[in-house]
C-alpha cells in the first residue's frame, strides 16, 4: 500500500482569493500558486487541479506502458507522453487525451499499439478517471 499526501492553503473568497499547494509528502514540489482565474481562464504560469491530473495521467500511463513493453520482451528506449485534460466549469472534467511517441527496439506497430492500448486501460489513474466521458490515445513509434 502506498499513501501520498498533498497540502493546500487558501485565503479569501474563490474569485478574489488565492491558494498555494504548500507542500507534498515527497518534498518534490511546492509551493505552487493557484487561483480560480488560473484554473478557469488564462493560466498565467500557475498550475490547476486539471494540470496536476494531466501530469498524474501522463506519468501513470508512461509507467504502465514501459512495464508492459518490458514484459513483452521489447523494453522501450524512450517514451514521450502528453496528457491534455479538459475541464468545463459547471460540468466537470470531460476529457483526457494521451499522446505517446516511443522508441522501442524490436517491436512492430501492431504489437506496440496493442501494448499502448493495454496500458491506457490498466493504469491506475485511467481506472480512477473511469467516469471521465472521453479518454483517448494516440500512439506512434518514432
Amino acid at each position: 500500500m502506498a499513501d501520498r499526501t498533498a497540502h493546500v492553503t487558501w485565503s479569501g473568497a474563490l474569485m478574489e482569493g488565492a491558494g498555494t499547494i504548500t507542500s507534498v509528502g515527497s518534498g518534490a514540489f511546492g509551493p505552487l500558486d493557484v487561483t480560480w482565474a488560473s484554473r478557469a481562464e488564462d493560466s498565467n504560469g500557475r498550475t490547476s487541479p486539471e494540470e496536476l491530473i494531466a501530469a498524474a495521467h501522463a506519468a501513470c500511463f508512461s509507467m504502465a506502458l514501459s512495464h508492459g513493453l518490458a514484459q513483452g520482451g521489447t523494453p522501450p528506449e524512450k517514451l514521450d507522453v502528453d496528457a491534455t485534460v479538459t475541464f468545463v466549469p459547471g460540468t466537470g472534467i470531460t476529457k483526457s487525451v494521451l499522446t505517446v511517441r516511443a522508441v522501442v527496439p524490436g517491436i512492430d506497430e501492431p504489437a506496440f499499439l496493442h501494448a499502448a492500448q493495454a496500458a491506457k486501460e490498466s493504469c491506475p489513474v485511467s481506472q480512477a478517471l473511469a467516469s471521465v466521458p472521453e479518454i483517448t490515445l494516440e500512439a506512434s513509434l518514432a
Binding site: 502506498a2 499513501d3 501520498r4 499526501t5 498533498a6 497540502h7 493546500v8 492553503t9 487558501w10 473568497a13 474563490l14 482569493g17 499547494i21 507534498v24 509528502g25 515527497s26 518534498g27 518534490a28 514540489f29 511546492g30 505552487l32 481562464e41 493560466s43 498565467n44 504560469g45 490547476s48 487541479p49 486539471e50 494540470e51 496536476l52 491530473i53 494531466a54 501530469a55 498524474a56 495521467h57 501522463a58 506519468a59 508512461s62 509507467m63 504502465a64 514501459s66 512495464h67 518490458a70 524512450k78 517514451l79 514521450d80 507522453v81 496528457a83 491534455t84 485534460v85 479538459t86 475541464f87 466549469p89 460540468t91 466537470g92 472534467i93 491506475p124 481506472q127 480512477a128 473511469a130
Partner: protein, 147 residues
C-alpha cells in the same frame, strides 16, 4: 462556459523498473519533477508520483469548492487549509488500484459555526469535479473542522 484545457508531459527513459521520468507542466511551466517507480510504490526519496499529483489536484479542487460554498452561505473564508491523502493498494486480480482519497479541511470563516462549516464541506465534496471522478474507483472521505 468555455472548455478549459491543461496539458502535462512526461519523458520516460528505459524500463519501468530501472528507468525514470521527468514530468512537466506543459500548460504553464509551473513545475518540472522527476518520477520513478520506486518513488511511486516504495520510498519517495524526494520524487513525485501520479498518486501525489492526484493528491495535489484533489486538495486544490476541494479547497476552491469549499471557499465557493462558504461564500454562497454568506460566510466567506478568511483562510482554509486542506490536506489530501491518496492511497493506492493491490487489489486481488486487478493489480494496483487507487482505492481511497482522504480530505482533511480546516477553515477560518467568520460567522460560520461547526454545523454550517460541515454542511459547506459536504456541499464542496458534492460539487468538486475531482471528488466526483475519483468515486468511480475509490472511497472519498472528508473530515472538516472550523478553526
Amino acid at each position: 462556459m468555455p472548455r478549459i484545457v491543461r496539458e502535462a508531459e512526461i519523458d520516460w527513459e528505459g524500463t519501468t523498473a530501472r528507468g525514470s521520468g521527468v514530468v512537466r507542466a506543459a500548460s504553464t511551466g509551473s513545475f518540472e519533477l522527476s518520477a520513478t517507480i520506486a518513488s511511486r510504490i516504495e520510498v519517495v526519496e524526494g520524487k513525485t508520483s501520479p498518486e501525489e499529483l492526484l493528491a495535489a489536484a484533489h486538495a486544490t479542487c476541494f479547497v476552491t469548492s469549499l471557499g465557493s460554498e462558504l461564500a454562497r452561505m454568506g460566510t466567506p473564508p478568511e483562510r482554509m487549509h486542506v490536506r489530501c491523502t491518496i492511497t493506492m493498494d493491490e487489489v486481488e486480480g486487478n493489480g494496483h488500484r487507487i482505492v481511497a482519497s482522504a480530505i482533511s479541511a480546516r477553515g477560518v470563516a467568520p460567522g460560520a459555526d461547526a454545523a454550517s462549516f460541515s454542511t459547506a464541506a459536504e456541499a464542496a465534496d458534492a460539487g468538486c469535479p475531482f471528488s466526483a471522478l475519483i468515486r468511480a474507483s475509490a472511497t472519498v472521505t472528508v473530515d472538516a473542522t472550523l478553526v
